[in-house]
């Protein structure tokens, strides 16, 4: 299965969720900013990255994990992705998750300052604070996703 975590820029919450899914980040504790900055694509994307899929890795079950930035299209991008998969006849092979709904205002301001304005240090400082608050929600989203994938794969096997 292809799992796609998408957020505004494909730079913060989607990358964190993908990293949690892949086991790169520990679900049991909030990562430090240094750990987050070591993640591929974390706070490193530009305007040209919008709409581009970026491969993050393969999880323990063999599912491919991607991240994607989709600006302000919110969950409509989930509709778009699953709609295309549906008309190709492979809707069961894809799962798209909008992580933007778990992003708080501090993260949004931090991301904006870092990626759009160029105030990287201040932006990352705020991101660190925002991610600390949002982390439990992101973990829950990933755990829910993993359960849904396991359920879908079990149903597919039967």
């Amino acid at each position: 299965m292809k799992v796609i975590y998408h957020c505004f820029g494909g730079s913060h919450s989607s990358v964190i969720c993908a990293a949690l899914h892949l086991g790169i980040l520990d679900k049991g504790r909030v990562p430090s900013l240094e750990e987050l900055l070591r993640l591929p694509y974390f706070d490193k994307t530009g305007a040209y990255d919008f709409g581009n899929f970026r491969f993050m890795g393969i999880d323990k079950m063999g599912n491919e994990i991607y991240v994607l930035g989709k600006k302000s299209l919110a969950d409509r991008y989930t509709l778009l992705i699953t709609g295309i998969a549906d008309i190709l006849g492979v809707k069961n092979e894809i799962m798209a998750l909008d992580t933007n709904c778990k992003v708080n205002w501090i993260m949004k301001i931090g991301g904006f300052l870092s990626r759009r304005v160029g105030l990287v240090s201040l932006g990352r400082f705020l991101l660190g604070i925002g991610i600390k608050k949002a982390f439990p929600e992101l973990v829950l989203l990933v755990e829910k996703t993993e359960k849904e994938i396991a359920k879908a794969e079990k149903e597919g096997a039967n």
């Binding site: 709409g51 581009n52 299209l73 509709l79 778009l80 190709l88």
Partner: protein, 136 residues
């Protein structure tokens, strides 16, 4: 093969492009676009099945709001990720002059004969442009 006509609203110029692609004359295509468009929702973000052309290609339209280029990029990459190619799914970007007027009409004007007539004329005025985009 699947052909998707991708645009902002997904219903006016995109419907016209589909009907032209399926072999309808300009006038008929514009009338049908106005009729079906006035009864459809804008910016659905889900492909809408229109019909088949003479080669049995499946024709769809898709409205994604202002981020058409971004959506086109995503769809083309998604097709490859899923193991398909341009031979399986082709995306054609369709846009029209004065599309913002069509958008306003679609959003705020309830369905009526006058609305459909106005859409018909606006789509017909864009027909040359639409046909050029189908060929490109």
């Amino acid at each position: 093969m699947i052909v998707i006509f991708l645009g902002r609203t997904g219903i006016y110029c995109e419907y016209a492009a589909s009907f032209i692609y399926m072999g309808y004359e300009d006038d008929k295509a514009a009338r049908m676009a106005a009729f079906y468009g006035s009864k459809s929702k804008l910016f659905l973000h889900v492909p809408v099945y229109i019909g088949k052309d003479h080669k049995d290609n499946l024709i769809y339209t898709l409205g994604v709001g202002k981020e058409v280029d971004m959506a086109k990029k995503t769809i083309e990459q998604l097709v490859q990720i899923l193991g398909f190619s341009k031979k399986d799914l082709l995306v054609k970007k369709i846009s029209g002059k004065g599309e913002w007027i069509l958008e306003l009409i679609g959003r705020f004007w309830p369905d009526s004969f006058l609305k459909r007539q106005l859409i018909y004329f606006l789509v017909l005025a864009n027909m040359k442009n639409i046909k050029k985009q189908i060929i490109d």
